[in-house]
């Protein structure tokens, strides 16, 4: 497990941590992908996870995904909360038998010694009603802090996962704060040449919090939501489910922004979530439908 352990005394910078994870998972056979070029709430939304979790074909990938949570914005004043942060996402389908060991190897690769730090797998099941998805797994604790969500997907888009994919979601800033021993996210060293996380992102957090909470034009957002919804349906009718799914991602983020602007009442909230869910599920269904004949031919005995 300790084959690629980071043995240097100096803790890794944020960027070196990402590079170490890339090197580690790349060597384990994962494609190293780049972030998806759309605004989304979590790495799971990336089509490389959501859509690729569907169907029988093997798929192993790792990537960083910038994640946007408008309501978590704190104008750069909270040391732990950000409206934009990074998730490191690994998906392996089918889940390999040694996924836990592989994961622990990745912790060693970024400098966590499991005989100095208490690593624990604590029950935490995952569910995303928006994606019609759920899975069983754990939150992984390092000295009492949750550093990773570890999930065996059981359903995606309302479909049973056949086969099951294993998903790892690392909270990069948290992990980096832990490794570097800093209490404020903005104090993280981004590289080894004097640039901090705050140098890169503090102003972004201030301005984007202001825009998310105060400036964003709600009528434009509502209009955007309706357009994304219409476009998604159009794309599904045209048989291009990947394009439809992009519109579902768009609608989901616009809904999050509307939430941050405080213009969606409790009653409306459920209805908007239902609309986003319908788009995401519809896209997954479209994706399944499109490839079903090909998959059934290639994987005898497989059924959606």
């Amino acid at each position: 497990m300790a084959d690629t352990a980071n043995t240097s005394a100096e803790p890794l910078s944020v960027q070196d941590m990402i590079l170490a994870l890339h090197a580690y998972w790349g060597a384990k056979g994962c494609l190293i992908l780049q972030p998806y070029d759309m605004r989304m709430g979590a790495g799971t939304f990336h089509p490389a996870t959501t859509l690729r979790a569907l169907g029988p074909q093997p798929w192993n990938a790792a990537y960083v995904q910038p994640s946007r949570r408008p309501t978590d914005g704190r104008y750069g004043e909270n040391p732990n909360r950000l409206q934009h942060y990074y998730q490191y996402q690994v998906i392996m389908k089918p889940s390999p038998p040694d996924l836990q060991a592989l994961y622990l190897g990745s912790l060693a690769a970024i400098g966590i010694d499991p005989l100095l730090h208490d690593i624990r797998f604590v029950e935490d099941d995952w569910e995303s009603p928006t994606l019609g998805a759920w899975g069983l797994g754990w939150e992984v604790w390092c000295d009492g802090m949750e550093v990773t969500q570890f999930t065996y997907f059981q359903q995606m888009g309302g479909f049973d996962c056949k086969p099951v994919a294993g998903e790892l979601t690392y909270g990069l800033e948290r992990l980096a704060m832990y490794i570097q021993g800093v209490d404020n996210v903005y104090d993280l060293k981004f590289n080894d040449h004097g640039v901090s996380y705050g140098d890169v992102f503090l102003e972004n957090e201030r301005q984007m919090s202001t825009w998310n909470f105060e400036v964003a034009d709600t009528e434009t957002l509502f209009e955007g939501f309706r357009r994304a919804e219409a476009e998604c349906r159009k794309a599904l009718e045209a048989g291009v489910p990947i394009a439809a799914y992009e519109q579902a991602i768009e609608a989901s983020h616009l809904f999050n922004l509307l939430q941050a602007r405080g213009v969606i009442s409790v009653q409306e909230r459920a209805s908007y979530m239902g609309r986003v869910r319908d788009l995401a599920r519809g896209s997954c269904e479209g994706y399944m439908e499109k490839y079903r004949p090909e998959w059934e031919a290639k994987f005898p005995g497989w059924t959606a």
Partner: protein, 761 residues
């Protein structure tokens, strides 16, 4: 038809070890899994005919282990003998028997002129039985949640387990029991601690299993790990001069999260101690699974005990430092909530309750609070709760749910009530009000504290009575095992409070008020929230929202109103539709529901009093009078009755009563003036009744139920003598009618105390 003949005796035995290894099993499921493993194993063995003695079952996060000592090496051979027709019977009978048994004639045995079919079933090797049983147990395992995994999950029917199953050790007498499930083959190798050991461990047999695992830093016996956590946490606290706050739930959970538990003590910033101690304890417990400690003065100390799963190289210094940081982040959130919440008064918070739905037919939490406030004030003003200031009762009730919208209770729902109490005190409200806010949910179970402070009693009663009245009014009563609104618990709470505080009230009247209040509140809301509805009501001019507690008059007005609703044409908002439906049923519900609720209380009282040894039939006997709904007095009556029916007088009086009641049931009679010479026993009974009736009545009025029973006891000898010497069914209709009248008087006298027909035995 068949009989079993035992096979060879003196079977030799061996010890069996089964270990099912998996990725981390949730701590909360391990105890259930142990019980299920034992149950399934016993079931499989019993089905196969293998006798099982005591079992040892262990669990860790990564394995479930079963040890069966002295398992027979084979099942017993079974000889089944089926009796057939006589040898002299017709050919058809024999043919039928052969068909039934599937045997040929030369396979039958003849004994004493009768055919027998004898089938010998040889014993099966235990190893074969186990090889079949292990996959069957795994497949049938009832995990609360299970999953599929890996390449095999391409197929829909692939194996399910709580988390991926990774290995099976199955050894009988040191030999591998070969079996396979989901691509996993049984063997003799297992794994040690995830970090303290690498490589496989080879198990020889049952006896070296636990020891070899211990060498590999796995304590496989959960009870041992629990003891280590329990003792270790205690010691860690003691070494720091502190006292651990014991928490057996945490002991079990931490033992379920570790294979090599190491309790470690850490400190947090003293400044956090300004946050209420319950908050710190809950944060530490729920989010982090830490124990907390007290100092020698009993105050919460700035220390926690976490349980690591490793014996760290540095003695745990880095682990403690990491956990301290996580706890600090949690506590600063909690302190933020605490300070944030204190900036808003409870009264201002309470306004936000109008946004939370209590139940779609019963309005918002704010609506409920308004009802509870009225009822609490009324209970105080009417003197039902003695010594209670009505204004304080109202104020406490108005604020009692305000903490539901605070940040802290949003984060920790289990702190509801408690936080309200803290915030009330922080804003300078009287202690009686703060205490009532804090404790008004109590009692939440049989073992919980029962409030006795007057203001608390008023609010706690009003809250529960409103819940009961509301859900009964909309016909959401508990059925069977379903009680989604916890109404049984609410009724039990009311009973406990009334009895503990000797709170006197006529439950029916109180419930009628509560129910009418529910209707008034629904109407208020409909009028306030719906323009059309308001216009209509104005047009009709019959109903106004009711500021005062509604009365029967209100019910009558609702009846008039609903009668005029007819085919109301204006399009109503959805809420008003609901309100209208509800109001249409109001008169019937207000009329019938109190009785249904009192019956519900009677049932709860019987359950509650069973433990105290109070007979349920005696509770029925007093409830059946229909005029006793003051639970305190009712129970005093039942106690006196129970003492009485245990005496000789009581037993005989019941017998006399039943005889009288039976005769009266059978015979019809019209009361006639008794112009005949009564027999002595008849006259004596009449005289006794003349004396006993006023005595019993006066005693009941004075609530001296022992004296009431004594008055009844005075009737025992006369009624016995009456039945002894007087013929009721006399040929003279005047005598018959007179005597039946006497018996009727006797029955009525008894009924002044209790309905003896309900008494069993």
């Amino acid at each position: 038809m068949g009989s079993e003949v035992p096979g060879v005796d003196g079977m030799s035995t061996a010890d069996f070890l089964l270990e099912l290894r998996s990725e981390e099993i949730p701590a909360r499921m391990q105890a259930g899994a142990r019980a299920d493993l034992e149950k399934l194993f016993r079931r499989e063995m019993e089905a196969a005919g293998l006798a099982v003695g005591a079992l040892t079952i262990w669990s860790t996060p990564r394995r479930l282990t079963l040890i069966a000592r002295g398992l027979p090496l084979a099942t017993e051979a079974v000889r089944e003998e089926t009796k057939g027709p006589r040898t002299s019977a017709p050919e058809q009978a024999l043919e039928g028997f052969l068909r039934k048994t599937g045997l040929a004639k030369d396979q039958l045995t003849e004994r004493d002129g009768v055919w027998f079919a004898v089938v010998e079933k040889p014993g099966r090797a235990a190893a074969d039985v186990l090889a079949e049983a292990i996959p069957a147990i795994i497949r049938a395992f009832p995990w609360p949640k299970s999953q599929r995994w890996g390449a095999a999950s391409l197929q829909p029917d692939s194996l399910r387990w709580v988390r991926p199953l990774s290995g099976i050790v199955a050894l009988l007498g040191g030999e591998v029991v070969p079996c396979e499930i989901g691509g996993i083959h049984s063997g003799r190798t297992t794994m040690g601690h995830r970090f303290h050991h690498s490589g496989e461990i080879v198990i020889d047999d049952v006896d070296d299993y636990a020891a070899k695992l211990r060498e590999a830093h796995v304590i496989v016996d959960h009870a041992t790990r629990e003891a280590i956590v329990r003792e270790g946490a205690r010691k860690a606290a003691a070494d720091a001069g502190l006292v651990l706050v014991e928490d057996e739930g945490l002991v079990i959970e931490n033992a379920g999260l570790t294979e090599w538990p190491v309790p470690l003590l850490g400190r947090f910033d003293e400044a956090f101690l300004e946050v209420p101690p319950e908050v710190i304890q809950l944060t530490a417990r729920v989010n982090q699974k830490y124990f907390i400690c007290r100092d020698s003065a009993g105050q919460l100390a700035n220390a926690f005990v976490c349980t690591a799963n490793i014996a760290a190289h540095d003695g745990g210094a880095m682990i403690v430092a990491g956990n301290r940081k996580v706890l600090a982040a949690r506590l600063s959130d909690a302190r933020f909530f605490w300070e944030q919440d204190k900036k808003t008064s409870l009264a201002a918070q309470a306004e936000k309750l109008a946004r939370i739905t209590f139940h779609e037919k019963l309005g918002t939490v704010a609506d409920k609070v308004a009802r509870v406030a009225k009822l609490a004030e009324w209970l105080a003003a009417e003197g039902v709760v003695p010594g209670c200031d009505p204004a304080q009762a109202r104020l406490a009730a108005e604020l009692c749910k305000a903490d539901l919208v605070t940040e802290m209770v949003g984060e920790f729902p289990e702190l509801q009530g408690l936080m309200g109490g803290y915030y009330a005190r922080a804003e300078g409200l009287p202690d009686a009000v703060a205490d009532a806010i804090r404790d008004h949910y109590k009692p939440v179970g049989q073992g919980d504290d029962v409030p006795t402070a007057p203001v608390t009693v008023a609010v706690a009663l009003a809250d529960k009575l409103d819940t009961l009245a509301g859900f009964f009014a909309i016909d959401e009563k508990p059925t069977g095992s379903k009680d989604p609104f916890a109404l049984r618990r609410a009724a039990l709470g009311v009973i406990q409070i009334l009895l503990a505080g000797k709170v006197r009230c006529n439950l029916t009247a109180v419930l009628r008020n509560a129910i009418a209040s529910v209707f008034a509140s629904v109407l208020d809301r409909a009028v306030a929230g719906d323009v059309n509805f308001a216009i209509y009501i104005e047009k009709i001019g019959k109903l106004q929202p009711h500021p005062a507690l509604p009365t029967d008059e209100f019910t009558a007005r609702i009846a008039d109103f609903t009668a005029e609703l007819g085919d109301f044409e204006i399009k109503l908002e959805p809420y008003s539709e609901l309100a209208l439906d509800f109001l249409r049923t109001a008169p019937a519900v207000v009329a019938n529901t109190p009785a249904a609720l009192v019956a519900f209380f009677a049932d709860r009282l019987k359950v509650q009093q069973r433990e105290a040894g109070v007979r349920h039939d005696l509770i029925d006997a007093v409830f059946a009078l229909g005029n006793e709904d003051d639970l305190v007095r009712l129970l005093a009556r039942v106690h006196a009755l129970q003492a009485f029916v245990g005496t000789e007088d009581g037993v005989n009086l019941i017998a006399g009563y039943k005889r009288a009641a039976n005769i009266l049931k059978k015979e019809e009679y019209a009361p006639l003036a008794a112009d005949y010479e009564p027999e002595p026993a008849e006259a004596a009974l009449g005289a006794s009744l003349d004396a006993a009736e006023p005595r019993a009545e006066a005693a009941v009025a004075a609530e001296d139920f022992t004296a009431a029973m004594a008055a009844l006891a005075s009737l025992r000898a006369p009624i016995d003598a009456f039945f002894e010497s007087v013929t009721v069914n006399d040929a003279d209709p005047a005598k018959r009618a007179g005597r039946l009248g006497l018996l009727d008087r006797f029955r009525a006298a008894v009924h002044k105390v209790a309905d003896f027909s309900r008494i069993e035995g």
